[in-house]
């Protein structure tokens, strides 16, 4: 048993120190009536070689290792991850380490988190960012709870184009606390209906929540939304599901957002069928004490050397217990590290160039596919857009798969009124050829 060093010979001497004869005697602390009388019903153990083969087969089930062209986005983005990221993640000093509660032997993790926090602040235009939360969805939930804690009011206005998964998670979190989420509809151009927002606002609202770009891929007027929220003393929360967009979009912190949260998966984290991902969470300085999650701070040691420690921990569960700002215990340290290495690798110029690449290819796709279907919304977009098809998208998408193309997400699963629409995402991983093939295949199918 290669993961358990002590073997029978070792047990004997150890047992005699304890005062037992056999290994099983250690379970004597368990009441007789609760002792399991049979072995657990689990598959026979696999040798390493068998394990690898078995899982490889499982990973190819249904796809048989075929190559696919994918235009799926909708909150999880297909970006190329440079080799350096995984090489760093595979350093066992990083991945087999624990939470850095003992700072002297965790300076690697602590400094990395400090760097991550800094980059998130720079990216979002905020003053303070935490060490990460579970994902973009729970980040929105925590932001709403935080706004409620700060303002003490009981209404939350949330744009319908915040990612549906984020809305469902936020709803789950707020339901037991009697904090209803009131949806704000979208306008004809694909952005949040700010007139409706203004109408719904009152002094009873703690927060207004928008996503940038929104779920339809459209760019929102964050500045205007901030004005509306602030006019009634509410906070503006901006959620960012595709943070690459921030390389080109004016940071929400400079447009009036009070809290900026989002999903960091795009930066260095594989799609991994939905997880683990990494939520980022940032806010204005004034709201620091109400923030959930871990924070790493800079300090000096007894000899005046710079070092890093977990800071402002009195907000957290291990000290504050039931009065904590959240129940969160782990952050997503390794995923945040991946995001950090990715951001450092691309850097100031690279992220911008990468974002321009995504944007350019998407604009090309909009022209190409817009002649086959029609562009549903007129608002500017980043790397996603909504396409209306003249026929039911579901069989069309199924047909495309037969040609090795995954053509995007049929929107009616989240927006029943959009029975004819699909959400298409184009990243640097899609070539012009891919888009042309998609367009041609779509063209052939739209009459059927």
């Amino acid at each position: 048993m290669r993961y358990i060093p002590n073997a029978e010979r070792d047990w004997e001497s150890m047992l005699s120190v304890i005062g037992h004869k056999r290994l099983e005697d250690l379970a004597a602390v368990l009441p007789e009536g609760l002792r399991l009388q049979r072995p657990l019903n689990l598959p026979s153990p696999l040798a390493e070689m068998e394990l690898v083969e078995s899982l490889r087969r499982l990973s190819e089930k249904g796809t048989e290792g075929k190559k696919w062209i994918s235009f799926l986005g909708a909150g999880a983005y297909n970006h190329f991850i440079p080799a350096v990221v995984d090489h760093i993640l595979r350093r066992s000093e990083f991945y087999t380490a624990y939470t850095p509660y003992q700072p002297e032997i965790s300076q690697g993790t602590l400094q990395a988190i400090f760097e991550f926090q800094t980059l998130i602040c720079q990216l979002t235009g905020m003053d303070v960012a935490n060490a990460s939360v579970y994902d973009g969805a729970s980040a929105v939930a925590e932001a709403v709870l935080m706004a409620q804690r700060i303002k003490g009011r009981n209404r939350i206005l949330i744009s319908r184009m915040v990612h549906p998964e984020s809305q469902t998670v936020t709803q789950t979190y707020t339901h037991p606390l009697s904090l209803p989420l009131e949806p704000i509809p979208y306008s004809a151009d694909g952005t949040t209906d700010l007139k409706a927002l203004a109408k719904a606002m009152s002094g009873e609202v703690s927060a207004v929540v928008l996503q940038q770009p929104n779920f339809f891929g459209c760019l929102e007027d964050v500045e205007k939304a901030a004005e509306i929220a602030h006019a009634h003393g509410a906070l503006l929360v901006v959620a960012i599901q595709e943070p690459l967009s921030l390389a080109l979009i004016h940071p929400p912190g400079q447009l009036g957002a009070d809290i900026a949260v989002g999903e960091g998966q795009s930066f260095g984290n594989s799609l991994n069928f939905g997880g683990p991902y990494v939520g980022f969470f940032a806010a204005k300085e004034a709201y620091l004490r109400a923030m959930p999650g871990r924070l790493v701070g800079e300090t000096l040691d007894k000899d005046g050397r710079r070092g890093f420690v977990l800071a402002v921990a009195t907000r957290e569960q291990h000290i504050r217990r039931e009065k904590a700002t959240s129940n969160i215990c782990t952050n997503q340290a390794l995923c945040a590290l991946a995001a950090l290495v990715y951001m450092a690798t691309f850097g100031k110029q690279g992220l911008r160039e990468l974002a321009e690449t995504n944007l350019s290819k998407t604009e090309y796709a909009k022209k190409k596919l817009g002649s086959v279907g029609s562009l549903r919304f007129s608002a500017p977009t980043f790397n996603e857009f909504v396409l209306t098809l003249p026929v039911d998208p579901v069989p069309v998408l199924a047909g495309l798969r037969a040609e090795g193309i995954i053509g995007g997400l049929a929107l009616k699963r989240f927006f029943p009124e959009m029975a004819g629409e699909i959400l298409v995402c184009v990243t640097e991983r899609n070539s012009q050829n891919d888009v042309d093939r998609f367009g041609d295949a779509l063209g052939r199918r739209r009459k059927k």
Binding site: L42, S44, Y134, E165, V312, L334, E363
Partner: protein, 493 residues
């Protein structure tokens, strides 16, 4: 850059922040030439939305990036470097093959919204893992969605709340033992419950009379960790479960200490209604420096309707996600959970099998009791009973010389060990909570024991060397007061 200084492990370079490195024009990335027309941003976006540039972002070559993060890693201590006896964390070895299989491209590149016919492998893995976890724990149904133990607790408490609300009254209070992990009361609060603390007795466990006194029709649930954070088995659990159930309440099991029980007993059979697992503890998925983990939740059949959406169902030979479940509490995580972590736990279970898991638990008990038996001469053992997978000492005898648990922890680092958990559980003043896990050899345990004995002697003969420890690390005794009075939480350009 200052000259390298050797320590017991590695040269300790002073590594600046990434913002203090690199230089204008340096690149660490490469992008293919654009194969479509480059868009003029000003033509497609309103001016006020366009960003000037990414201030404060570094420009580094690949070499500098690799050097930077390699050096940072060398200041970390991971399980692969040595013993990590953190009580309550189960820092067991992270199998390397699990890292490989988690990266299989068929899984790593799978988008969560892939059509189901293309994600059958992923769905099958989830379906099977649910059943393995149910089998190990004796629960009926499992959700893999929560991203961590704390999120699992929230999920479990939300389900209890929904179930009781469905019966007419969600109730107001939750009973939480004084030995509980801080996430327990925090998660209860998040559900809108008021926390009522129940005390353990002089044996370190809960006693039925105390529960009976606090239990009434307004208590929704009790949260129990078994074995508890003192490493002691809550032997009155069945009676306690009975009391709570008779008043219509539910029993939440915190499964953080499951490593003590695999193949020996099943928590579900003690009557627990909901249980969370910590895959990053019991099932050997890596801690990552503070995540990602995974906190699946098991329930008994009466709570199955409330599980988060979606659930994985098998129809014939096909697997699919099922969403149309009106009583579900909703979702706690986007998509389906920390899939790549689930995959590692799955690989671990397949590698160990029933015998392997049972042996892991038995050897975990062996290792903890061995430490307990050998150290009790030198450190105060507040609850002198056989323990399970962890034991809790206190710094009481060392206090005489002005030495605290914190000092002992810092001195351990000089000897190359990660300290145990300190100051938890709160019921023990100056607690030192030691959980060796089954991953340690007798030699390692003997070394640790010898060092602890050495430190106990140093406390008497030379307390100053302990109070000023650690001496060998890159930094020592960081000023936490300074960090908290004037928090500096980011670098500024």
């Amino acid at each position: 850059m200052s000259a390298p200084r050797t320590s017991d492990c590695v040269p300790a370079f002073h590594e600046p922040l990434i913002f203090e490195e690199g230089g204008a024009g340096r690149r660490g990335y490469s992008l293919p030439a654009l194969d479509v027309e480059k868009v003029d941003l000003k033509k497609v976006w309103p001016a006020k939305l366009i960003r000037k540039g990414l201030d404060g972002f570094p420009e580094m070559s690949e070499v500098e990036i690799i050097r930077h993060f390699t050096r940072l890693s060398q200041w970390n201590y991971g399980v692969d470097a040595g013993f990590y006896p953190l009580g309550s964390c189960t820092m067991k070895y992270n199998p390397k093959v699990n890292e490989d299989v988690a990266r299989l491209p068929g899984f790593a590149s799978a988008h969560p919204y892939l059509p189901e016919e293309l994600s059958q492998g992923a769905l099958q893995m989830m379906f099977e893992l649910e059943r393995y976890l149910a089998e190990v724990s004796g629960m009926d149904r499992v959700t893999l969605q929560p991203a961590a133990g704390a999120q699992g607790e929230l999920t479990g408490m939300l389900m209890i709340r929904a179930y009781l609300a469905g019966q007419g009254n969600p109730r107001q209070k939750v009973l939480v033992p004084d030995t509980a992990h801080g996430t327990n009361p925090a998660s209860s609060s998040l559900c809108g419950y008021q926390v009522v603390q129940v005390k353990s007795n002089e044996h370190g466990i809960l006693f039925p009379e105390n529960i009976a006194e606090k239990m009434d029709g307004d208590v929704a649930a009790i949260m129990i960790t078994n074995p508890n954070t003192l490493g002691l088995f809550e032997e009155n659990i069945c009676e306690i479960v009975d009391i709570v159930h008779r008043h219509g309440g539910q029993v939440y099991g915190d499964g953080a200490n499951l490593n003590a029980l695999m193949g020996l007993t099943r928590i579900g059979e003690m009557g627990v209604d909901v249980l969370h697992f910590n895959l990053h503890k019991t099932f050997a998925t890596p801690h990552g420096g503070g995540g990602p983990g995974a906190g699946p939740v098991g329930v008994k059949a009466h709570l199955a309707d409330y599980l988060p959406n979606p659930v994985v169902v098998k129809e014939g030979e096909n697997y699919r996600f099922h969403y149309e479940r009106p009583k579900s509490i909703g979702k706690v995580r986007s998509f389906y959970g920390n899939f790549a972590i689930l995959l590692r736990a799955y690989a671990y279970i397949l590698s160990m099998g029933a015998e392997g898991l049972k042996r892991a638990s038995l050897v975990a008990l062996l290792n903890a009791n061995y430490i307990r038996a050998r150290l009790k001469e030198f450190y105060h053992l507040p609850y002198d009973f056989p323990c399970m997978h962890e034991c809790v000492f206190s710094d009481r005898w060392q206090n005489k010389f002005g030495i605290t648990a914190l000092d002992i922890a810092k001195r351990l680092m000089d000897y190359g060990f990660h300290p145990p958990t300190i100051y938890f559980p709160l019921v023990v003043h100056g607690a030192l909570m030691i959980e060796p896990t089954e991953s340690e050899s007798k030699e390692t345990l003997d070394q640790f024991i010898d060092v602890m004995i050495q430190i106990a002697k140093e406390a008497e003969s030379n307390p100053a060397v302990i109070r000023e420890a650690p001496h060998q690390t890159k930094v020592s005794r960081l000023d936490e007061v300074l960090a908290n009075r004037k928090p500096k939480l980011r670098w500024k350009p």
